[in-house]
Structures are given as C-alpha cells and as structure tokens.
Amino acid sequence: MQFLHLVQLALYVQTCFAVKEWMFRKCSQNPFCQRNLDYAEAPPGGVYSMTNLNFDNLKNITGVITKRLDSAEAEAAVGANADGFVELPFRLELVNDNTLRFLVDESGRKIVDRDLENVLSSERFSPEQYVLDYDLIEKWRPTREPEMAASETGFRMLYGKTLNSRVDVEYSPPKLTFTHNGEEVLRINDDYLFNLEHLRKKQASDPMSWWTDRFDKHTDRRVRGPESVALDTKFMNFAHVFGIPEHADSFVLRKTDFTGDVHEPYRLFNVDIFQYDTNSVMPMYGSIPFMLAQRPGAAAGVFWLNSADTYVDIGQQHTRNTRAHWISETGKMDVFVFVGDSMKDLLSSYGYVTGTSAMPQMFALGYHQCRWNYRTQEELLEVDKKMDEHNVPYDVIWLDIEWTEKRKYFEWNLENYPDPELMMKKLEAKNRQLVVLNDPHIRVEPGYEPYDEIVNGPAILDNRGKKAFVGHCWPGQSIWIDGLNPEAVDKWTKLCAKGTPIGLDANNLHLWSDMSEPSVFSGSETTAYKDLVHYGGFQHRDVHNVYGHTVFDLTTEALKRRYEGKKRPFVLTRSFFAGSQRFGPAWTGDNQAEWPYLQSATSTILSLGVAGMPFVGADVGGFFKNPDLELQIRWYQAGCYYPFFRAHAHEDSDYREPYLLDSPFFDAVQRAIQLRYQLMPEYYTLFHEASIELKPILRPLLYEFPDSPEIYTTEDEFMIGSSLLAMPVVTKNAHNVLLFVPDDELYWYDYSVGQIIPGSPLQINVGMDTMPLFVRGGSVVFTKQRMRRNTKAMARDPYTVIVAFDKDGHAKGHVYVDDGETYAYENGDYIDFEIELTEEGLIGRALHTAPGYEHLYIEKVKFYGGDVVETPYARMETEALEESFLMRTQPQDYGYSFENAHLPISSDWFIRIY
C-alpha cells in the first residue's frame, strides 16, 4: 500500500509540469471534426456535381457545385432550390503560373435566429482580405494563357510558363488531378471527402451536438448549426509532407490516421497553450494551413485558406501517397494548389499570393536581451552597461508586462521607471533599441484612455453583438480590440503615437504583441468564446485563427505611422496566420529550459520557414525553469542561428544574462553571440532574399538539395541560406555528433578553420565550445570580423570574405547592403554586390549600386582552397594600367588569403590570379 502511494506520487510529479491536454478539444470532442471523420469512414456517393461551367475566361473558370438532398433534408435546408439542391458557386482561378485556386461558397444563406438575424452576416467568412497580398498577386499574374479541352464529363487545362502543368477536372463527383512535367502530383477529392455542410433549420431529430455542446465548463451555442467544410488532398507519390505549423513536433509531419503512430489529427487553432509538450499535434499560438511535399523533380503544395478551427488528418496510402484530410468548422472552402519542380517554386508562388517577408531593420537581426522582467529603469540600464563591460554585443533590450502601471498598456509604471524618455535616450546614444510588451486586451477602467477609445468602438463584441465583450486577462477584467474592424488601426495609431505616455518622444521604441490568439484566461480553451461577434457580423469561430494576424497587422501599421513611414517598424507577435510574414517576426512562445525543447525548436523553426514564416525564433535558454550551464550554452550555440535571436526567462527563473556566467562558460556564450554578429552581412542578405521570394532563412536540407531524398527527413542539421550548413549540438553530455552532408559532388569546409571535411557521415568530436558550422564549396560568404557592441556600430566596418572552392575551383556569392533602417532601398538606395571565382581570377560585380556606400570595402579575402598547393600571384587589373597592383597574398592552412585587400563593394573590379 505504501509502495503504491509512492508510485502515484511520482507519476503526479512527472505530469504536473506539462500541458493540460484536457483543456483543449481533441477531434472527438469537437463535433464538426468528429462528423467529418465519421463521414470519411463511408463517404456517400452522388451528392456533389459540377454544373453551369463558364469557360469565357480560362484564368477564372466559374460554375456551381450542386449538393443533392433527400426530401426531408431539402425541407430542412435554408437555401435549397425547388429541385432539392443546394447551390455551391465555385471558381477555379489561375492566380499565377504555378498556382490554381479552387474556391467554393454557398448561396441562399440567411440567419434563422430572431435575436441575431440583424447582427450576424449570412455569408460564409473568408479571411482573404486580411491574408492575401493583392499587389503581389497583381504583379505576378500568369504569364501565359492556359489551354483547355472539355468533354462531357470534365475538362483538362494546361497552364504554367511552359504549359508544363495540367489540371484534369471531373464533374461528378468533382475531382481535380494535377500533373507537373508529365507526372501526377496531387489529387483533390480523390476519396470523396469533399463535404460542405449547408445551412439548415434545426430539426427535432438533430443530434444535440450539432447545435450546442459543453466543454471545459462552457456551453458553445451554434446558432447557425453545422456548417463545416472538409476536403481530401492526395499528394501522389510523396512519402512525406511538411508544413502546417505551428506544432512542437518533428519537421516531417507524422501520419495521424490509422496508418500512423498518433491517432489524433494536427490541429490548427491559435491558443495560449501553457507549458506545451514537445512531440505533439496539439495546437499552438499560430496557424499556417499550408502543406508542402517534394520529391526529386516535382513538388506540390496546398494552402487551405480558412481561419476557423481546423484539423488536418494525415494518412499514408498505397505506400507512396500521402493524404491530407482538411476539416474546418466554418467558412468558405478555399484551396490554393501550387505545383513546381521543387519546394523553392512552391514557396515563391505562395509568397506571391500571401506576401513576402518584411524587410526588417538591421538591429532586428542582432541579439535581443529579454527577461520577465527588468524591474526598474536602474536595473535595465545596469544590464545594458554590464553587456558592454563584458563585451557581449546586443542590439535590443526588452521590457515584459511589468513596464506598465496595473498592466495597463500604453502607460508607464513611473515608480519603477521614473524617466522612460531618458532611459530610451541613453540606449539610443549607444544605438540600442527598446521593445515593450503591448497586448490586444485593455483593462476595464473608465477614464483610462485606451479603454474609453475602444469600449464603444472597435472592440470584440459579446455574443449578442451588443456591447464590448469583457473577459479576464493580465490586467483583470479586460476588453479586446477587434483587429478586423477598420477603425482599429486609427485607434491603435493614436495610442502609440509620439508624445503619448507609451513612447514619449523616443525614436528607438518598438512593440511586442503578445497574447493575441487571443488569450482569454476566463475563456474556453484559454481563448475567446466562439460565439463572440466581430466586425462585419462574423462570429469569433469564423475568424479565430486570423485574429492575431490582424492585431499584428494593426500594431505594425500603428508603429509605421508613429515613425511617419520613415522607419521599418518592429513588432514581435506570438500569434500569426498565413500572411503574417509581411509584418515581422514571431517566436515559438513559452518553451521550457529542458533539452527536448531545444531539440524541438529547430524543427518548429524549419517548419515555419518552409510554410512561409521565415523570421522566427525560440526563447534562448528556455522560458520556464532554469537551464543548467550546459543547456544554456548549447542553446546559445543553436539560438545564434535562429532568424530571431532572443534570450528570455520567466519571472520565477534565476537571472541568466550572459555576463553572469564565469569563464569558460561565458566565453562559449560570448563566442556564439559574436558568431551571429560575424555572419550579419550574410543574414541581412538572406532577409533581403526572403523579402523578394520568401526564401527561408534557416532552410531544411531538402530545400537546398531536392535531388538528395536521403536527407529529406534530416532535421538536426540545416542550411543558413544556401552557403552555410550548421549542426548545433542539442543533446546533453554530447561528446560527438554525426554529420551527414548532402551531395557528394560538393566540397564542404569547416567555417572557422577552412579545413575541408573528408566525407560523410563524419563523426565530429564536440567540446563545450564547439559549434559545427560548414561552408558549402562553390559559395562566397560575406562576414564582418570586428567585434562591436551592436549592428549599427558595425555599419562602417570592412568585410572579410570567404571564397570556398568547389571541385572545379569556382565560387560565387553576393551581399546586399542598405541603410538598415528606412524604406530608401525601395527607391534603389542599396548595394547588391557579387563575387565570382573563375579560372581567370576573382571578379567583383556591382549588380546594383547607389551613392553613399563608397566607404564600404573588403579588407580580407580567405580562399578555402581544397587542394591549393601554392599561393598564387594576384593582380588587381584596372583599365588604367598604372593603377593595377599586386594583391598581398599570404599562404594559410586553409589555402591562401588576400591581406589588407581594400576591395570596394560599390564598383566592379577584377583580380587576375596566376
């Protein structure tokens, strides 16, 4: 008996610091999801058919999908026609060369509820106006007219730049088959899981759960009844699928139906998931319903544009096909299908639909020092001082919620921060930035300006649509700004403006938009009740997943206006949706100082990257609890590669600023942070690429090496851009790591010593300060080796360039430079400089140049030479012969170098190498 007691206690202790699974609905606890899983067991045939097709515009084919009902159901339906059909207008739109959009709506809807018929919209909701980037869509319209051939039972359309993609459409039942380069890649509704629950009047025979159910002490009343949308998309001959973040799970998505090891679909439902677990399909703070698959030569992607509660059930079929069953509670059925040669194509096409990544200010790529909380002005300035004294570079210091008075955002706690303007000025004198927390919930307190502004304005309304919904969050009783309301941005702008308490007149103040899922402590599943009413008469259930995105949008816009459109705004968000990449960075929320969270962070970041959200990071060190020395060091050594590189700690955690460590632990952390600053030119260039084509910053190997299927599932190594390969050490007591490098045809060099690696797999011994990082042969990497205190301090410093030979002695790479702050680059005020190594010598090409960058130059070139045996002569050749001169070449262990080279990056040059 005694023994039994002890065992129980042990179990309890183990589980008490984990997520409360019972607080979140599983598919079986969410009636719309379970209905569709049941539907999938035996989908009825002959229900849906396509008719009335209009081929006038092949880029926008329209028609109607009819849903046939039996007489009883026809009676119950709100919008059935005389023949007992519900009409579902659809359109098949060629958005760009690689992208077809299949959009299905429902006509004849009206609200059957006396209280709400004038409050709620009868339309199905689409978040598209918040998500799509119409300017880019316009810019990237299809370059070639598609070609079409129709028959009695369907039609076939060729599209794409070279008409190398094709869709075959069958009418009854509706089915779409996509082919790329002659190979089938995707089928839609192959298993007849297409299901759109039309609006109907409540019937006595209806199961109760269709209209109402109770979960976590809350009753959800669905006045519109069942109205889910669901569809199967089958990735043909793809063993793996990726994407649909955010989950703390492996990068390779697991099979979640009976073919897999986890019998619960991935859920996309933004929640403040307190103390989340790793290896979990549970929902998290953000959602991007975008799934990708790749094999050598072909790739296919599906973007399910729906912001309601969504589950994605993944299964393996016929050994090589992977099926995704998409299930959303409400909204339109809106599917974007991308095809291409590789994931790269999918991602750029997706970017041309939802927008590319915002170009951040340079400081945003530096190291961010955060903690809940630097309690006083004095303490914050002390941290700033200590960082300098210990030579730990950093750009941004953060204040968590306690900067406020009574957790009233927009108001400083003047007792603890008596002169915030002076504090910010002091930081500004060192070119450093301050970020303060600013959430979308507002304390209920008449007389408090934000409350007064919003309570009768753009607030989320109660379930009657009458007045502002009041719930519980950090400040106690709170109301929420409705980001969907067009008035919201003006209110937020007014509150964030200069001269107001939040930022006074500081020029270096930025914002952190947290809790925007929204997190509602008193709500169901820690979020807003689904029957709350938003702008336009939509229920929260329709808009839920895009809410955080709209808050992110308006906060970014408010800040942009605060700086009069002259500076790129910086806002960090926790919640996000497809399209959020247009605004700025997100982080992976409240992780824990445990090894599994360090391991999981990489997978989540890679997953977010391929799903179009490149500017992300995880809290370095782990938010909850205290990391031991080893974990803290390893986390810095991995975190310094995260696109968003921030250390953060919980209120109950010990202080752990880098300078509190003793040597040699301090040295290891300092080195990791300094490495990030060394690589800053490379990172900035990658962010520029992400702003053009939505390329990830950290890339899974399969993104860069689509022809090497053996590395498709590798997720403990990744590429930083296309030139660097990193393998952070993420296990406790590691003495060595086993490195796999893709593609035997390539040379790989150790980043710091330039030694070529003998082959793969390769066992690498790792000490506490080892950071395995490799340069891909054939690339040119731009670095800055002078260690400064922040990015701005480095701006004038010269470059050190690594030229890494490939097998043929060639290499190529470029660097992007602008003022790091304003939008002047949009008007051509930037440098794009390329260096190429050929048989003749080293060529410098200004791909784009602008005045004002003449002072920037390369002070050193390191040639990672592979098999160089002799240091060559090198002569800078110019048109005027008398100006030609010999480079100072010097033999090195790795090959050779040009010393004190003084090569400009704003004009062309050529160095002949003998």
Partner: protein, 496 residues
C-alpha cells in the same frame, strides 16, 4: 626621415581632427608609448609585445591588423585585442569602441574615439562632475568617519556598562544563592517541628496536592492557550494567503496543483468568523482566589465545600493534568512551611532568570571584533534596525545584529539571523543565515553590503540566486580608513 614622420603625423591628425592635438602624432597612442611610434632607421615599426615582428611604418594605423598584440592599430578598430588611448580622459579603451558611431564620453570625455566632428569635447564637464563626485565622496567619507568614530566611543561605553552590569548581577546572584541556602535550612527545620502537629494532616495534605495540581493546571492552560493563539494566527495567515490565491490566481497558468488546492481549500469547513475570534480570557483572579481559599484554614472545616472544589478541579482540569500528579497525595507540610516554600520557589525562579540574563550579557561580552567588527564598533548599533521596500512593494526590516525580515501585511518571512560584521573587498558586510525556507526547502540568506555613507540606508535589493538576497546600502560603518588610490577619480593610469 623626419619629414616622413611629420607627414604621417599630419595625415593622422587630418583624419582624427582636434583630438589628436593632445597626443603626439599617431592616433590612439599614449604619451608613455609615443617613443615606440616613430619609424626606426629602416622605416619600420616593431610590434610592442613582439619586437621581433617588424612591419613597414606605413602599416601603423592603416586600419588593418598586423601585430598579434594589436599594437600596430592604436587608432583604429582593426585589431580586436587593441587599445586606444584617449588623451582627454587619460585612459585606454578597447579598440572596439573606436569609430563605432557612439561617443563614449564615460570612457573618453574628449570624444576622440570617433572621427573628427562626430563628438564634442566634454572633458570639462566630466572633470567637473568627477571633481564634484570626489568632493562629495570625501565629504561623506569625512562625515562618515566622524560618525564611525563616535560609534567606537559609544561602543566602548556600552561595553563598559555591560561589564559593570555583569559584575553587579553576579554579586546579586551570589547573595541570592546564599539566601536560598539559608531558607532551605529553615524549611527543613520547620518541617521537623511540624511533623507532630497533624491536627488535620489529611486535609492539609490534600490541600497541598490540590494547590500543586492547580499550579500545574495553570501552567498547562497557559501553554495550551499560547498554542491555540499561535495556531489561530497560522490559520489566519493561511486563510488570507489562500483567499488571495483564490481571488487572484491566474487561470492562464492552468496549473492543476493550484486548481486542486483551491478546490480542496473551498471544501474544508472554515472556522466560524475567524477574524472576529474572541479568545477565552484566562482569569488570573480565579486561580488566585482558589489558591487563597486553599490556604484559609478556617475553611478546612467545611469539608463538603472542599470536596466539591476538589472534584470540580479534578473534573475540569483532569484532562490537562497527568493523573499521577493529581491523585498522588504527598505530605507537603504545614501552612508555615508552605510560606517558606513559596519564598524558596520564587527565589529559584528569580535565580533562573538572573542566570539567563547573566549568560546573555556574558555572551555579548565574549563576542569580539569577529562579530562586532573592527573596534567592536557594532556594539553601538546593537539594536538598530533599517527598513526598505522592494520593487514589488514588500517591506524589509534588517536588524543589524538580530533578524532580517521581509513581508507585507499578510505575511512575513525571516531572511536570517545576523552573523555579525565582516569585511569583503573593502566593504562592510553583514551576513544573515538560516532564514525561513523558500522553494525546495532552502533557507533564505541575506547579505548586506555597506559602502561608506554618512547615513544608514538600504538601497537596492536583489535575489541573486534562489533564496539568496543581497542588499546594498550605505552606513558610517563602511567608512573605514581607505588608501588614497581607492578614491574615485584616481583610477588614472598612463601606461598600457
């Protein structure tokens, strides 16, 4: 040769502007090192720490690092291990601060760490500020030392007084001991004399036993009552803490332990009106009356009253009093003997208290400068307590040679007991150990660090580790004589 140096010097000064006027020729070189920054006869420069490595002098400050010790680039940021000499402040700063777009006036008041024209020369105001600071510090130091000196005087006086008190106490103690010895002899004699007069021996015996029972019961009651009060106090504190948790807990933390705890708490029946609880007041008079009555021999005849009393007492107090004591009837003696016995009992108690007092005084005397600090100065501040408030609004009280506590109106925790004064790195430190346990059962500890100041003051408090607190403060205690080089503003050194 000479011309070349001049040319270089003018080049450098052209680049760095005003600031280089203060140095001789080469930017970032200290006067003490100036002689090394002249080309040798071959026009070369020898790296300072590696004189074997020579480079052409035009590579000095050419913004490219050549010397392993960074000495060829004193005026640029090219060498990560280099140093820049700032003439205005007369000190070195790391090369990373050179030309980084930040005017580091704190380190280099003339702004020469940045290219000419980017920073102004603020040396005058920094000098003034430094001078003011120094002046202020010296004033504080002076005043602080005077106060400290007066403490030493006061401490000596107190020690003397304590010593006198001890002597006096010892004397009194001895006298009382003698008196007690005599009393005991008297008592024995009276008992001898009384042994025959057993007129109502049984009653007397019973009375004696009853009296003893009453005394015991009284003690027990007092003890139980105190325990009850303590328990109620604890209960009230727990109740308040739980109430706070129930009202203010953050459901976002969704901690099942918290939820479970709250649920459990709600289910436990509460003491009725706990806050207004009026404890049963212990009636001293009642006990006195009973005692007096038991002496009153006239009452002895009223046997029935006595029996009633006896049964009542045993009934009501029986539960508290061990049976053996209440039922055992001993021959205690006559009333006269009892009177003497009373005096004896009182004397014993008095002696005990005296002994305690004496021990405390002796202990305090025995503690030397290891506890009271140099010159036993702490004696002067034995009963001083300082207070401050944390940024979370908790009050802190630090009794320098007693307890340190932290808390608010709801709860107070001990941060430990003073271990006396010690010195650490020129500061006066008082450690407090064995405070109330916090997380994981670790005892809280506190370290108070005093710098010199003319008033006692606690400044910042920080929790440097779990349950380990540090408070910085000022006190005249910290104003020990210091060497001149430790004064602020005297950290000027001229060489690398």
């Amino acid at each position: 040769m000479f011309l070349k140096v001049l040319a270089l010097a003018s080049l450098v000064s052209a680049e760095t502007g005003e600031s280089s006027k203060d140095t001789i020729g080469v930017r970032g070189v200290s006067p003490g090192n100036a002689t090394f920054y002249i080309p040798d006869e071959d026009g070369m420069f020898a790296c300072l720490a590696y004189p074997d490595i020579k480079i052409s002098f035009d590579r000095v400050n050419d913004n490219y690092c050549d010397c392993p010790d960074g000495s060829d680039e004193p005026g640029t940021s090219a060498c990560s291990n280099g140093y820049f000499y700032c003439a205005g402040s007369g000190n070195f700063l790391p090369s990373r601060y050179v030309d980084d777009g930040v005017c580091d006036y704190d380190l280099c008041c003339d702004g020469s760490d940045e290219p000419a024209g980017e920073c102004e020369n603020r040396c005058a105001e920094y000098e003034q500020e430094k001078e003011n600071e120094r002046h202020k510090f010296l004033q504080h130091l002076d005043k602080g030392r005077q106060i400290r000196h007066s403490y030493i005087h006061e401490a000596a006086l107190r020690k003397e007084a304590l010593r006198n008190k001890t002597t006096e106490l010892e004397k009194e103690y001895n006298e009382l001991t003698t008196k007690l010895k005599n009393l005991k002899v008297d008592y024995a004699r009276i008992r001898e004399e009384d042994s025959d007069s057993t007129a109502d021996a049984d009653s007397l015996q019973a009375l004696g036993a009853l009296r003893k029972t009453m005394n015991t019961a009284q003690k027990q009651y007092k003890k139980l009552y105190k325990e009850l009060v303590d328990a109620l106090d604890s209960y009230n504190k727990i109740n308040l803490a739980m109430k706070k948790m129930v009202e203010e807990y953050n459901p976002n933390f969704n901690d099942p332990a918290v939820k479970e705890c709250i649920k459990e708490w709600i289910s436990i029946p509460k003491l009725p009106a706990v806050i207004d609880y009026q404890p049963f007041t212990y009636d001293e008079n009642l006990f006195s009356k009973i005692k007096i009555m038991s002496y009153d021999t006239q009452q002895l005849n009223q046997a029935s009253w006595f029996e009633q009393l006896q049964s009542m007492v045993s009934e009501f107090l029986g539960a508290w009093v061990p049976v053996s004591e209440s039922s055992q009837i001993k021959n205690v003696g006559s009333v006269r003997a009892q009177a003497v016995k009373d005096v004896i009992d009182d004397s014993v108690i008095e002696l005990k208290e005296m002994k305690k007092e004496l021990a405390i005084a002796k202990k305090s005397l025995k503690l030397d400068s290891d506890f009271w600090g140099p010159d036993e100065v702490g004696r002067a501040l034995e009963d001083i307590c300082l207070t401050t408030t944390t940024s979370e609004g908790n009050d802190i009280e630090v009794c320098l040679f007693g307890q340190a506590r932290m808390g608010n109106s709801n709860s107070v925790v001990s941060l430990g007991t003073s271990r006396g004064i010690r010195e650490e790195k020129g500061h006066i430190v008082i450690d407090f150990v064995s405070g109330d346990p916090c997380v994981y059962g670790i005892s809280r500890t506190l370290k108070v660090v005093f710098e010199c100041g003319d008033v006692h003051q606690l400044n910042s408090i920080s929790e440097v580790d779990a349950c380990v607190y540090v408070i910085n403060g000022t006190s005249p205690l910290g104003c020990a004589p210091v060497a001149a080089h430790e004064l602020p503003g005297s950290d000027i050194h001229d060489e690398l």
